[in-house]
């Protein structure tokens, strides 16, 4: 591990990569503050830039910086304006906004910065410990297990989608897999489902789809329903936190960094779930008199979600880097970018290209430090960007989605596809269909089919499913993951109707 750390330090401390971290954090913070632009959209917009860098470590470092920055920027707008730019920071506004209303905006932002820093740093340390262990286990996996593991990942994403959402998430996943089969197939390079259209020969562009699923619907929602951008106009002062306050939030930060990290590792459960769960847990274990403070400007209530969401962001890198399976929409986009750079994340990554793995981990530390150093003094100025009028903002967001899709493929048909898919995605969003599973399915589809075909060819049929115990076990887990939530939901409803329990 020490050797790896040194490799990472060497790579991450090159001038170019340091600039990437700083630039990524700044861009992420500024764009993440804008309501309606989440980390997924920002990363999707940044991908063309990252890919054209050509160096996978630099690209991943840049995108990870953007990711961190976006989460931090999102908490800034949650606290100052009660307009969370990112779903993961919604919980930060519960207590952050009341604090800002009480004239403690500076203190709230400071707590947010420190909590984010601690969460991110502890998360990176845990990642350093757990990722190599997990990846040495993963090396025992064959293509059959990989296929099964991807099924588990996809069904976990569907299963964690929430009550009443499992079937919807499943449909979206299958739809993503279906879209991945368009174009020249994994087998014999036969064109499939292209309907004779030449432009579909190479399949749908992944950036186009990412933009259409996330950035475009969010921008359209901003057009349809302008968010109230007016917030507390008060001066931002009183940045310091007192010693007793620091003592109060220290255990919260400690608990939430670890809890947040492990929630982030689970596929499908990202920063959003981690922050809500962190808030709920801290409220429940707080003493009675402090419990009443929650929701009215409690510093613990702000520190908990802030720590948890940053730790979870780091945690979500574990399945991506060790198994090559993204656990969230954001890491799915990162995976797409890595594949475009000819790097396949997975257990071999640490053996074949250790510099990428360790550079990313080191850049997480640097990124967290940069965020802390840059943001503490910049806090008063950061808030100014919220004054950009929406009339200018929206055309630019739309333009950047168009540009991203165009640069990827250099093809005007791609732009029409973008608009078409964007309209479909908006309709899906109206009906409360989750969009991230579609993109994850799309990205995993090709790999899943590859592994499936390889094991089919090795075993000359479908026998690998029952001849390899690990594959069978993983597939059973996948089935349980899908069935369990709907079963529990059904029982809960039956109980609510007054049906007696069996025991």
């Amino acid at each position: 591990m020490l050797e790896g750390l040194l490799i990472g330090l060497q790579t991450a401390f090159s001038v170019q990569n340091l600039l990437m971290v700083i630039g990524g954090c700044l861009i992420g913070t500024f764009i993440g503050m804008l309501p309606g632009l989440g980390p997924m959209s920002i990363i999707a917009i940044m991908i063309p830039v990252a890919i054209s860098l050509g160096d996978p470590s630099a690209a991943l470092i840049l995108l990870a910086g953007v990711y961190y920055g976006a989460i931090f920027g999102g908490s800034t707008s949650s606290i100052l304006l009660n307009a969370p730019g990112v779903a993961g920071t919604v919980a930060s506004s519960f207590d952050g906004y009341p604090m800002a209303r009480q004239g403690k905006a500076g203190k709230a932002l400071t707590i947010a910065a420190i909590a984010s820093f601690a969460g991110g740093t502890v998360g990176a340390i845990l990642l350093m410990v757990f990722a190599p262990a997990l990846s040495s286990v993963a090396l025992l996996f064959h293509s059959a297990e990989y296929f099964a593991l991807m099924v588990v990942g996809l069904s976990a994403i569907a299963a964690f989608a929430g009550t009443g959402q499992v079937a919807k998430a499943l449909i979206m996943t299958v739809l993503g897999l279906i879209m991945a089969t368009v174009g020249e197939g994994a087998l014999f390079n036969l064109p499939r489902f292209t309907m004779g259209v030449m432009d579909l020969q190479s399949g749908f562009g992944f950036i186009t789809l990412a933009m259409a699923m996330f950035a475009l619907p969010e921008a359209l929602f901003l057009v349809l329903k302008p968010k109230d951008m007016k917030g507390s106009e008060g001066d931002i002062k009183d940045l310091r936190i007192s010693r007793s306050e620091a003592k109060a939030i220290a255990p919260v930060i400690g608990r939430q960094s670890i809890q947040g990290f492990f929630i982030g590792v689970l596929p499908g459960a990202g920063a959003t779930i981690a922050s809500f769960l962190g808030y709920a847990v801290e409220r429940n274990i707080a003493p009675k008199h402090e419990q009443d403070e929650f929701g009215k400007g409690s510093i613990k209530g702000l520190a908990a979600p802030e720590t948890a969401n940053n730790a979870a962001c780091t945690g979500s890198f574990v399945p991506l880097l060790t198994l090559g399976i993204p656990g969230s929409g954001t890491t799915a986009i990162l995976l797409g970018a890595l594949i475009a750079l000819n790097v396949t994340p997975g257990p071999r990554l640490m053996l074949d290209e250790p510099q990428i793995f360790w550079a990313v981990i080191m850049s997480m530390f640097i990124g967290n430090l940069v965020l802390l150093i840059l943001n503490l003094p910049l806090i008063p100025y950061i808030a100014k960007i919220l004054a950009v009028p929406r009339n200018y903002l929206i055309p630019f967001i739309l333009f950047f989605t168009l540009m991203g899709a165009y640069i990827g493929q250099n093809n005007a048909t791609e732009l029409l596809l973008l608009v078409g898919f964007g309209i479909c995605a908006t309709a899906l969003k109206f009906a409360d269909y989750p969009l991230a599973p579609l993109l994850i399915g799309f990205i995993l589809g090709g790999m899943m089919e590859d592994n499936f075909s390889r094991s089919m060819q090795l075993y000359d049929g479908i026998a690998f499913i029952w001849e390899r115990p690990m594959t069978l076990a993983l597939l059973v887990i996948a089935a349980i993951l899908i069935i369990l939530p709907s079963y529990r939901n059904r029982r809960a409803r039956a109980r609510a109707r007054g049906v007696a329990e069996g025991d």
Partner: protein, 160 residues
Amino acid sequence: MALDRWIALILLGVCLAYGYAAWFTMDAGLAPFMRRAPIWPSTFPKVLSILGVIATLFILLGIEKGGVKEAEIDYRRLGEYRLGQAVLLLALMVAYALCLRPLGFLISTSAFLILGAFILGERKLYVMIPIALIAALSVWYLVHGVLGIYMRPLPGFLGG
């Protein structure tokens, strides 16, 4: 019927069409040597079409009922939101896609940014035009000069 079930119905149609293509049309042109392989290009799509049909039927038949969440935008009252602006912006994006090649990058981009702001209700032309021009030029420079991707800057008759 609620919107989510209408969408499920449409997706069911998509899955059925996809399944029809996978089950009945794809294997016809398969070369003999490929037929001997245990897996055909149509195998995976066949499985997916079945899964898709099952999942859409789940929603359509309402087997899994969830609590109704408060949506950010209520589609039943879509008319009360700024639908006109959204539709116009989408039309503008289509127009941009069609004009990008023939008109060149600089003209179409500045026009897109100015018209986009105009649709949203901005009327300060003296602010909009400089911003749009600067943005178009700097993005073109970044893409062309820094990233090295060719984009025709001007219409063909101007020598772009």
